[in-house]
Each structure stands twice: as C-alpha cells, then as structure tokens.
C-alpha cells in the first residue's frame, strides 16, 4: 500500500514505529492489546490501515482485531484533538454534580452533551467512569492531568487555560 507522493515519508515513519512495536511484542503470547495500546499512543488513533497491518503481522483476521478494538473503550477509531478532556462520571462525581460539569465544558466548547471533537481539532471530550480521585469530586482529566473540586465556572476556567496555551504537550 504505497501512499501518494509527498505523504510517503510520514507513512513510512509510522510504519517503522509500528514495526518496532510489533517486534517488541513478537515473543509475548497474546500481546495484541499492548500492541494496539502502543500503536495508538504513537499514532493518536487506530485507522483501518493500522488495524489491517497489525492483523496481518500478528496472524489474526481484521475482524478479530476489530472485535478487540471495539470491545475496549480505550481504543479510538477516529483521530482526536490536541487536548483530551475526560469528564469523570463515577459515583462520587455523579453525586457531586458531574452532569453540570459536562454541560459547562461541552457548552463552552460548543459540543453536544455526548462530547466529541471540536472542528479545529483542539479538544476531544469524553466521559469516563471514575479516575480514582473520588474525594476531589467532581473531577476532570485534561491530557492525564487531574483537576478536582470543580464547579461549572472552575471547569470552564480550566479549559480556558488550555485554550490559551498555543503549544501544549499531547497526553497519551
């Protein structure tokens, strides 16, 4: 599957990275999930091509790989924004008003309540269930950094801080 001229280098780079991951786990039995995790970490998401490549190189069918990917919520089939915002909907956060935080964040970013990615690819908003810091509920994670004891206004403020940063590190 040669890419179009000009894009080749990017694809090649990705291929090399993917090969490295595949090699690392080639001796470990049943290591499909770590392969997918590391592939996603490097590529941001798992495209159909990536899944096909992993399937061919691990002796599985594309359907088997796709089955695994869609079973676990961690895997993404679509690219995500530069910042990943995860809103906790665990019990403590629910009791503490997670719905309102969700409404505030999604409202601020002009997304509907289900979350999603902003058109400028800056933010992806997801729901998660309990990040294990329940005493500081309600809580959100932005690029794996936790922000706790929020209310609607504080949540918007956190997002505004990230909007101000032009260049930020991408979380995993």
């Amino acid at each position: 599957m040669a890419g179009k001229a000009g894009k080749v280098t990017d694809e090649e780079k990705q291929r090399i990275a993917l090969d490295r991951v595949l090699k690392k786990y080639s001796k470990q039995k049943g290591a499909l999930i770590p392969v997918l995790q590391e592939a996603q970490e490097g590529l941001g998401y798992l495209s159909e091509e990536t899944l096909g490549y992993i399937a061919r190189n691990t002796g599985r069918t594309l359907a088997q790989v796709y089955g695994v990917v869609t079973f676990y919520t961690q895997f993404r089939l679509e690219p995500i924004g530069r910042h990943l915002v995860r809103i906790c909907h665990g019990t403590a956060c629910h009791v503490g008003g997670a719905e309102d935080i969700d409404a505030a964040v999604c409202g601020h970013l002009d997304l509907d309540q289900e979350g999603g990615t902003t058109p400028d690819m800056e933010f992806t908003v997801e729901k998660v269930v309990c990040v294990g810091a329940c005493s500081l509920a309600p809580i959100i994670l932005v690029d794996n950094v936790a922000h706790g004891r929020l209310d609607s206004e504080k949540a918007r403020k956190v997002i505004r801080e990230y909007q101000k940063r032009k260049q930020g590190a991408r979380g995993s």
Partner: protein, 592 residues
C-alpha cells in the same frame, strides 16, 4: 550527622488533582529563594483526601506537622513560619505528631495494616520500604517455611478476598497449589473498576512494594512460575510506580530467578487494562490477558484449574495481597485477633460523597457504619442530614440511617441487603434522589454489560428504561412490580456477577426508600428536588437580598430583579440548570 530538615508533599493522583504539583514547585522556588538547605520529597496518599494538598514538615527540634489545604499562595508564609522562625502556622495545621487537633480523629480511629505505609514512605525508594521491615515477610517465607506452611498461615489468619466476593484466601491458594499444570500463574487484580473506590490505586501508588511482596509470597505458596499485574489503564501513576518497584525488587534479588537463593523463581509482567469494567471478573480478566475480547465464561472450570492459557491460575485483589506480608511477618494469630468471627483483619473503605472528611478509612472488620461515617468521616458536610450510604458500588446497596449501627463485615452487610464489595462508600444527604442514584448505577452496568448473556444485556436495559421514565415523571403504577420481577430474573439468569448483582442498587432502594419511588410515580414529585422534569425553581423573597449573583450567572436570562431587591425566575425561560441554586449564598433558591 545532623538529620536534614525535610518537606514532603503528598503526590498521589488525588494530591495532583488538588494542585499538588504547583505547591511542590512553589516550595522548591521558595526554598531556593531563601537558600534553605532542606530536602524536598514526595510521598503517596495518606488518605486525608478531604484536606489535599497535604504537606509534611519535619524540622529538627519540632514535632512533625502535616499542613492541609495548602495552596501555592500559602507557601511563602508556611516556609517562613515553620522553617525560618520555627513556629507552627496554626491556620493550616491538619495534624501534629503526638498532639490532638480537630481532624486527628480521622487517623486515630483507624487501624492501619494495608495503609500503614501510605503517605509515609517514599514509594519510589525500595530502601525506604526495606527500612521498615519490607521484604522480611518474603525472606521469612522463603527461608523458613514450606509453601504448605505459608498457605496454612494465611488460611489460619482468616484473610478473605478483598476484591468483592470475600472468598478465604488460604483456601483459594490450596486449590491452585494442588492443581496440575506445567506452568502456574499468579495474578494481581488491579483493575479497580468500581466507580467510587480508589483504595487499590492508593496502595499501588503509595506502597507498591507491599503488593509486590505479597504477590511473590503468594506465588511461592502456590508454586507459580509467572505473574501478571492487571492494572487499569486509568491509573498511569500506579503503573509507573509498579514498574519501578519491579525493577528495584529484581535488582535486590526479591524477584527473578532463584529468589534470595531459595531456588524459587518468578517473573512479573504488568498488563494494562484497556477500559472494560467486566475485565475485573476473573474469567474475563484471563481472556483479556490472552489478548481477546474480555468476556466472562461459565465456571467451572475454575481458574484455579484452567486459567491463563489453560493453566492453573490464582487471582487476588491488590488489598488482599497487601495484607499478606504483614500476616507472614507478624503471624496469623495477630491478624485473626482483629475483626469478627467470620471476618478477620481490617478493610479499607473509600469515603466519598457528602461526607465531611472524605478519604481512605481502614478500620477493623466489625466496626459500625456509624463509627466509619461519623467517627472517622466526621459526619455530613454542611451539617445536612444523613440520608443513605451506598456500599459496594454497582453491585452493592444503599442503606438508610436506621441501619447505621450495622457492623461492616462479610455477614452483616449482605444481611442488610448491601455487600462489602471493594469498599466504596458513597455518602449521600437529602439532596440526592434515590431513584436517580439507582438509575445512575443501572446506566453504568447497562453500559458495561459485555453483551454475552441476554438477562444482563437486555434485562438491565429494560430496568434502566423503567427507571428513566420514573425519573421523568412518566412512571406507571405497575413499574415497581416490574422492576422487582426483572431483578429476580436478571439475578438468576446472568452468566457472571456483573449481571448477577446489577439489580442490587434498585432492590435496596426499593426496600428502604420506596416512598421516593411512589412520590415520583403517583405524585409526580421528586422529594430531593433533583429530577429536573419534576421540579421548578423559585426564589424566596424573604431570603433573597438582591445580590444579583444568580441573575448574572443564569445562562438564559430567566432571572430578573433590581439590585438589593428580591429576584424572580421566569419559568418559561428556565432550563433548570441549577446554577442559581448552587450559587445562592443565602439559601433563597428552592425547588418545588
């Protein structure tokens, strides 16, 4: 040599969420600015999450002081007062070593075995752990005990699995030890999926070597050749600290081949979960480790006989394993003296929700709910009335105030309709709607149902639909009966405990809070004022002093009124976002 003064910041996930990194940076800056030669360190979570960020000061000639609620702007004053002038800064004190403070009860009323080192040791330093007797349990087991003796010791201690089911750990080890297989696996279940439970994370982040030591002892006791730690993907810090712990323990000869010259070898690999609650279930966890969809399968065969790759496998929870080094070191008898007849030792609970002092509470089994919630937890926030405690997460139940004297143990809680579960305790006050809470849990189990068996997949969906319509004021008189019937069918028919316990939150709320269901169904009223389809918002003119905060924050401009005059809400425009209710400092906004 004079001991160096030391400042230690609690940097577990909760400390970080409260802004611990900023505080740490500020302290470093302040120390540098004042040219103070003070060691700056980090530790895990001591469990006083209600007062994060926590900073410990150890200065020569002064007692150790833990300051709470520290914000970056507090740092200069703290450093100046404590380190420069040698004076304790009273306003920020949480605990003073050996002295009584208002919050001291939180720790004093606890019995700490599993959490004993959390928030005290540097979790990234194996020497620290070894300094307090770490890996002595392993040494004792490997040098002076046969695997049978280790299993007997654990059996005699009365330790039962802390992951939910409460199965006697020693007996489980016996099954696996006696099973035939070329390879044998020991697995640490660190999937901690129950929303509202974070004790396993705290132990992994705060004392990873204790879990590792317990796991190696368990491995020796059953004859395991390989080990896996299956850790939630949402716990990156725990994974990082586990990796370091494995590296350092291997370096010291506690792990790897021929451990401490005993001839016993074990390697341990960390597997990160990929986000599926059901993978905490043993057979699903095994499938996930094998790299396929994590769906449970019928048992028998039990994992003790046929687990990973068809080999005998023993799976234990993090907290279970963290108890093991202590038991081997201190002896089964000492452990068994704690607790009740059927439940020995301690249990860690996560106090969250509307409790005043939320955090980690480790108490002896048999302690009453009242002692945990009011003694350790300090009662309800803002002095509101206690309404219920939800124990055991999505598989557990809600217990009302009348049952506060129930002891927490493996026999009393199920008798009351709840379960020990993993130990999440979510405390709710009169502003929580019990039907909404039941709906919340069903939403969770419905979403996490793997879909393999019909009762769980479809049954939970039907229950959720009924609960949703009750909350929307569209409930029918027969709905309560329908829920009860569905609950029985789902419990009986489900393949694994996910479905088998999913109806519990509904059943206990129906048992203890039926009046709330009836208010929703017959009176179209939500007594807690939460279900938005059933409430309207109003401002009490007696209490409103016209501060305009609500009007300025109303997203739809539904609130109007002159400054210093009572305000009013236009019901046509109100979208029931609750913003005014939350913001009013005079309690003037109310729901009907």
């Amino acid at each position: 040599m004079k001991k160096k003064d030391k400042v230690v910041v609690g940097l577990a996930t909760c400390g970080i969420a409260a802004g611990g990194v900023e505080v740490m940076d500020e302290i470093a800056r302040e120390l540098k600015k004042r040219r103070l030669d003070v060691e700056l360190d980090e530790t895990g979570c001591i469990g006083c999450c209600f007062a994060e960020v926590l900073v410990d000061f150890e200065k020569e000639g002064m007692p150790r002081v833990t300051y709470g609620d520290v914000r970056p702007e507090d740092v200069p004053a703290l450093v100046e007062s404590h380190l420069v002038n040698g004076k304790i800064l009273k306003e920020k004190v949480l605990l003073i070593e050996g002295r009584k403070t208002t919050e001291a009860d939180f720790l004093k009323k606890q019995t700490r075995i599993v959490l004993g080192n959390c928030g005290i040791l540097d979790p990234e330093d194996i020497e620290d752990y070894m300094g307090i007797g770490g890996y002595e349990g392993l040494r004792k087991a490997l040098s002076g005990m046969t695997p049978e003796q280790v299993r007997k010791e654990v059996l005699d201690s009365g330790l039962r699995g802390r992951g939910g089911a409460g199965f006697p750990t020693g007996a489980k080890w016996n099954f696996c030890a006696r099973a035939e297989g070329e390879d044998k696996y020991i697995v640490c279940n660190a999937d901690e999926g129950d929303p509202g439970a974070f004790m396993d994370r705290s132990v992994l982040e705060g004392d990873p070597h204790a879990v590792l030591e317990g796991m190696i002892i368990a491995g020796y006791a059953i004859g395991a050749t390989h080990g896996y730690i299956y850790c939630r993907a949402e716990y990156p810090l725990a994974v990082k600290r586990l990796k370091m712990a494995i590296r350092d323990a291997t370096g010291k000869g506690f792990l790897g081949s021929d451990i401490l010259g005993s001839g016993y070898s074990l390697d341990i690999i960390i597997k990160e979960g990929a986000g599926a609650f059901v993978c905490g279930e043993e057979t699903a966890l095994i499938a996930s480790i094998e790299g396929v969809r994590g769906m449970p399968r019928p048992r028998p065969p039990f994992p003790a006989n046929k687990g990973i790759w068809g080999m005998p496998t023993n799976i234990n929870n993090v907290e279970t394993l963290a108890n093991v080094p202590w038991i081997i070191r201190e002896g089964a008898g000492k452990f068994a003296r704690l607790g009740t007849k059927g439940s020995k030792g301690t249990k860690v609970f996560c106090l969250t929700g509307k409790v005043r002092r939320g955090g980690l509470a480790e108490v002896a089994m048999g302690t009453t709910l009242r002692e945990v919630i009011f003694g350790v937890g300090g009662g309800i926030k803002n002095d509101r009335p206690f309404k219920a405690v939800q124990i055991g997460g999505p598989s557990g139940g809600c217990l009302p105030a009348e049952l506060l004297d129930t002891p927490v143990d493996y026999d009393s809680l199920p008798a009351a309709g709840a379960i020990m579960g993993s130990g999440g305790m979510v405390i709710v006050d009169d502003t929580t709607c019990m039907v909404d809470l039941a709906k919340y849990f069903l939403t969770f189990t419905q979403m996490e149902s793997c879909g393999k068996c019909t009762p769980c997949r479809i049954g939970t969906k039907r229950m959720l639909e009924i609960l949703t319509r009750i909350c929307e004021g569209k409930g029918e008189p027969e709905d309560i009966e329908r829920l009860e019937k569905l609950a029985v069918d789902i419990k009986d028919g489900s393949l694994c405990a996910l479905g088998g316990t999913a109806p519990n939150p509904v059943l206990t709320t129906l048992r203890y809070f039926k009046d709330e269901y009836e208010a929703h169904i017959f009176d179209k009223r939500c007594p807690a004022g939460l279900c938005s389809e059933l409430v309207t918002f109003h401002i009490d003119p007696e209490k409103c002093n016209g501060c305009t905060v609500c009007a300025r924050n109303c997203p739809t401009g539904a609130i109007t009124g002159e400054k210093k005059e009572p305000h009013g809400i236009d019901q046509e425009k109100c979208i029931k976002c609750r913003e005014c209710l939350r913001r009013c400092r005079f309690d003037a906004v109310y729901t009907v």
